[in-house]
Symmetry: C2
Subunit: 346 residues, 2 copies
DNA sequence: CTGAAAGCGCTAACAC
DNA sequence: GTGTTAGCGCTTTCAG
């Protein structure tokens, strides 16, 4: 109701008949307060419903205990799960999270972001924007001048920056190898938008693994999607024309795999009997697809949590004056989850 | 790098040879500054890389331009889409978003939340926690003493509170009616956890609509799931025993529908030929299920955006001293999306 | 153990 | 047009 009449430390002091320092000592649990005084002050605090102002405190201490997290595409499964992990970990560490969700994946205005971080005096930045159009390097360059540490989540490892990422190239290799191990020899790929670093790395993994096994992929063997199921359906239609001999498909994510499989069913083709499938991400629905979808699993939640951990290390290093190079970046692995869609039936 | 040596308004003033008041006027675009002075000051600001401190400004102005958003289950599609809408709208309005993601759906500690809102001096609270165990009323009661407005997103309309919600009862009714209109007469229901207000309302819609049409649902005709695909599969297995005559199923969300359908396929049953299906939510995958899933669509993004709009109205009303009862709650509708899974095939 | 003074970085209100 | 004074709510010296 009454925003105007905020109860201040001064008011509490006056009512309790002590100085505001004493009140300050009570709310900060300082030892040097007589038990009786502490009790009395606490009573007044409760009665008046006093809450110390984080704003005033931040001004005095020059510490906000706040982290900015920059995201994009929260409507997608991956980014929102990462945020979930980020938020829980930040909470646990007693840091407040300032959320900045970009309207698109492309960063339009670095200047305004930089202004924002500086004005809000956040103590660190968690950059959880999927890397598109190789803008990651540009981002790092632009954000290098920030006075607070930045941790980059996702995409490729980056020289000289702090990151928490997952090995997409390795994931692409192992997904492809799995199909080869099952005996497939005509393996197509439906990639995500190649403007995404993730999509590009997975595709390169597919390409290199085929080459390594003496199978020679050509352009007719892959098609580009946009991560959504609809684009998977379109991509498989194109591949049926350009690569009629294919016996297996590695899709850049589960959604596209699911869309493609449904399309094949409509065309009277069976999975995995006619064409086998492996997806990527292990979304909840993939286990209940028809047929259940083999996929590469990555732990988004953990990625978020680790990102905060690394950021906190960097923040602490900065505030204690330690050399920041003790903080190490993190590279997580993916898990192969084998389900029916990739099993060789013969 | 140098957190210690923040450039302050005083430093800018000194370098530019003016008073800090003049600098303040420049950064706030006050008219009463000579053009030459303005230019000079601006030049110093750019050179020194000065950024005004939002913290100091908040303390002086007693305005933080910050909104707290409380969420739970960001790993799920619904809540994260709502957050996406919330974040974009808040950004647009120039408000910072402080994210508080609860570790579970059950609110354990109101006191700490209340303390948080008060200490951070947020100007409003967007409560985007799915309503479980009818705790919504308790929440409203607990948060009633907050000095800032609160808008409740989701679940049922609430007397005397500001909310932005969607009519789940109506959605449940229309989903069921659609199956009846298609000619089905033995309609089962797989509900979400009944501790969720949403799940309960949809189930009641199913129940009442059957009654209205002279069909009499009994306990053997429904099963409870937990929103996940796995629970949908389990639920349909139970229903096959308790309600062998069923010819259609209304599932409380798409995930459970997808899980149940896959289970039926494994059992050699066909959808919709043997058992028809309608889901709820219209998740992206539902259009690419086998068969494509009929569902009730709700616009999570819009819900988030509207929540911020209502909250901003309330905040403005409070700060301009207007009577807050000019702010009206919002009730959104759902859309029926008809796909193959519910089409009567004779 | 407790209090008084100074200051964090900024803006509002008034002088000049 | 521009500068001065006071104060937002808190913590950090330093006295006592």
């Amino acid at each position: 109701m009454d925003t105007k009449n905020r109860v201040t430390i001064q008011k509490v002091a006056a009512v309790a008949g002590v100085s505001k320092q004493t009140v300050s000592r009570v709310i900060n649990n300082h030892p040097d307060v007589a038990d009786i005084t502490r009790e009395q002050v606490q009573k007044v605090i409760d009665e008046l419903g006093y809450h110390p102002s984080a704003v005033a405190r931040s001004l005095t201490m020059q510490r906000t205990h706040t982290i900015a997290v920059v995201t994009a595409g929260l409507n997608l499964a991956g980014p929102s799960k990462v945020l979930h992990g980020l938020a829980l970990k930040a909470e646990e560490a007693g840091y407040a999270l300032l959320l900045k969700n970009l309207p698109g994946f492309q960063v339009e205005d670095y200047a305004s972001l930089i202004r924002y971080f500086n004005e809000m005096q956040v103590e660190g930045v968690a950059w959880a924007v999927p890397d598109t159009n190789y803008q990651r390097l540009e981002t790092i360059e632009k954000l290098a001048k920030l006075p607070m540490p930045v941790v980059y989540q996702g995409s490729a490892p980056i020289e000289g920056a702090l990151y928490v990422t997952v090995d997409n190239y390795d994931g692409g290799c192992r997904a492809t190898q799995h199909l080869i191990d099952q005996g497939y020899r005509h393996i197509a790929h439906i990639s995500g938008p190649l403007s995404f670093g993730d999509a590009e790395a997975r595709k390169t993994g597919w390409h290199d693994t085929l080459e390594k096994n003496g199978l020679h992929p050509v352009d007719a063997h892959w098609a580009e999607g946009d991560w959504n199921s609809a684009s998977g359906a379109e991509a498989i239609s194109r591949l049926l024309n350009t690569y009629p001999g294919m016996d297996a498909v590695f899709a850049g994510n589960d959604q596209m795999a699911i869309g493609a499989i449904e399309k094949l069913h409509e065309s009277g083709l069976r999975v995995p009997e006619d064409i086998a499938f492996i997806g990527y991400d292990n979304i909840a629905e993939s286990a209940y697809n028809s047929p259940p979808l083999t996929t590469m699993s990555q732990d988004f939640h953990l990625m978020g949590a680790r990102t905060i951990e690394v950021l906190l290390e960097a923040i602490n290093a900065q505030h204690t004056g330690k050399k920041p190079n003790t903080v190490k970046p993190v590279m997580l692995a993916t898990d192969l989850i084998v389900r029916r869609s990739s099993i060789r039936t013969q």
